[in-house]
Amino acid sequence: AAASLTDVMQEIAGAYEKQSRDRIVFNFAGSSTLARQIEDGAPADLFFSADELKMDALQKKDLIVKETRVSFISNSLVIVGTMIRRPPELIGKKIAMGEPSTVPAGIYARQWLTSIGLWKQIEPNVIPTENVRAALAAVRAGNADVAIVYRTDVEPVPHMPRFMVSEGPRISYPFALMKNAEQPDAARKFLAFVKSPVAMRIFEKHRFIVHPFKVQ
């Protein structure tokens, strides 16, 4: 599962293991690392990605069971650091964000900024980081004015001013069963549990946006 899902997935798995004899084994890393591992034949039953593009790539290579692919969890971007009221205020500020071509959070931020026509102007001031946490740390250390991160990454009662990006790109987490799963039946059962109301509440508790209507 994507590293950003570590806490929530472990909680869901804990709840699942209370009612089932199956044991869930996770591998947490960046989505692109996980996709790499799957392409190289690493054994995996389920893939909980933080990036639709990575899932698309695997689907194109026919590595996932297409029918099982679902995306009902989403996230949104926030700008933290100094108070921003309107996006144009970003111009001239030092902006820390995930690397805009490889890290999902950075890719989304860039998509959003491009769509509102600001990207060209702010690009020279962008500080690309390896992950969201590094962007936050840069703001705390005083070397970046703002950071563009996921809302799930900042505590609900921060001392930091924040700007919620509402019109940003759809940031969703696709889940799917792998073609060469070793225990497809058990994996299906867990995937079903992840879609259950119990799991939904856990996702919400961790500040993810849940779209239950997408679960059939």
Binding site: D40, G41, V132, E155
Partner: protein, 219 residues
């Protein structure tokens, strides 16, 4: 997945990887120190590569080699039904590759500093090459070799980049201290990360202390 099991896994894999690289590293170091041969600089560069390459690159190469579709991993899977990738074996493999250059360098200098005079005299006393190595060269180089083993062990504990690619970060199975700390940092759980960091420091202190005590005895 409690703290102790993470520490135990880390200790076990780091110690095993350090022990496993000792024989090949000493062999390579000895050849580099005591023989001149064609392509020596090449082999030396090759040995140093895991140091020079970013860990992701090393990890990717290992993944290619050790995966079920890889040259080594494929063979092991077919012949012995042993999987490497995503198991503790991959953790050990990543640690081995990353700390190998450190031990080779240290051992090489240690061998070079041994005065060949003593080896010669041992030979006049009838000792075979193997005996000369075991009773003269190795003990005289012990200080440097142990120091290199300490470096290798410390590096194994800290190993992260290659490990997460080949072994994944599977709690209870492949999640070493380094991987766990990374995960906690990612999640913003800094106090927990610092607690685990504390264990790493304690392990390092113990290793330094043991290395110190061992070399003192050897003087």
């Amino acid at each position: 997945m409690n703290d102790w099991s993470i520490v135990a896994l880390t200790l076990r894999t780091a110690a095993l990887s350090t022990l496993l690289i000792v024989p090949p590293a000493l062999a390579v170091a000895w050849l580099l120190a005591r023989r001149t041969w064609f392509g020596k600089s090449l082999v030396e560069t090759l040995v140093a590569l895991p140091l020079v390459m970013p860990p992701v690159a090393t990890g990717l190469i290992l993944l290619h080699l050790l995966g079920r579709r890889g040259a080594i991993g494929g063979w092991l899977h077919r012949a012995l039904n042993v999987d490497i990738v995503f198991t503790w074996r991959a953790v050990v493999a990543a640690m081995m590759v990353m700390s190998f250059p450190l031990l080779v360098r240290a051992a090489r200098v240690a061998f070079e500093e041994v005065n060949p005079r003593f080896e010669q005299i041992a030979r006049t006393l009838g000792a075979t090459d193997a005996r000369v190595f075991a009773t003269i060269t190795l003990p005289l180089a012990a200080r440097g070799i142990i120091s290199g083993m300490l470096l290798a062990f410390a590096r194994a504990i800290g190993e992260f980049g290659a490990t997460i690619l080949v072994a994944g970060s599977i709690p209870g199975r492949t999640m070493t201290l380094s991987l766990a700390i990374y995960n906690l940092v990612q999640l913003g759980r800094d106090p927990d990360a610092f607690r685990l960091l504390g264990y790493a420091v304690v392990i390092a202190f113990a290793a330094v202390w043991i290395a110190e005590a061992t070399t003192r005895r050897h003087r």
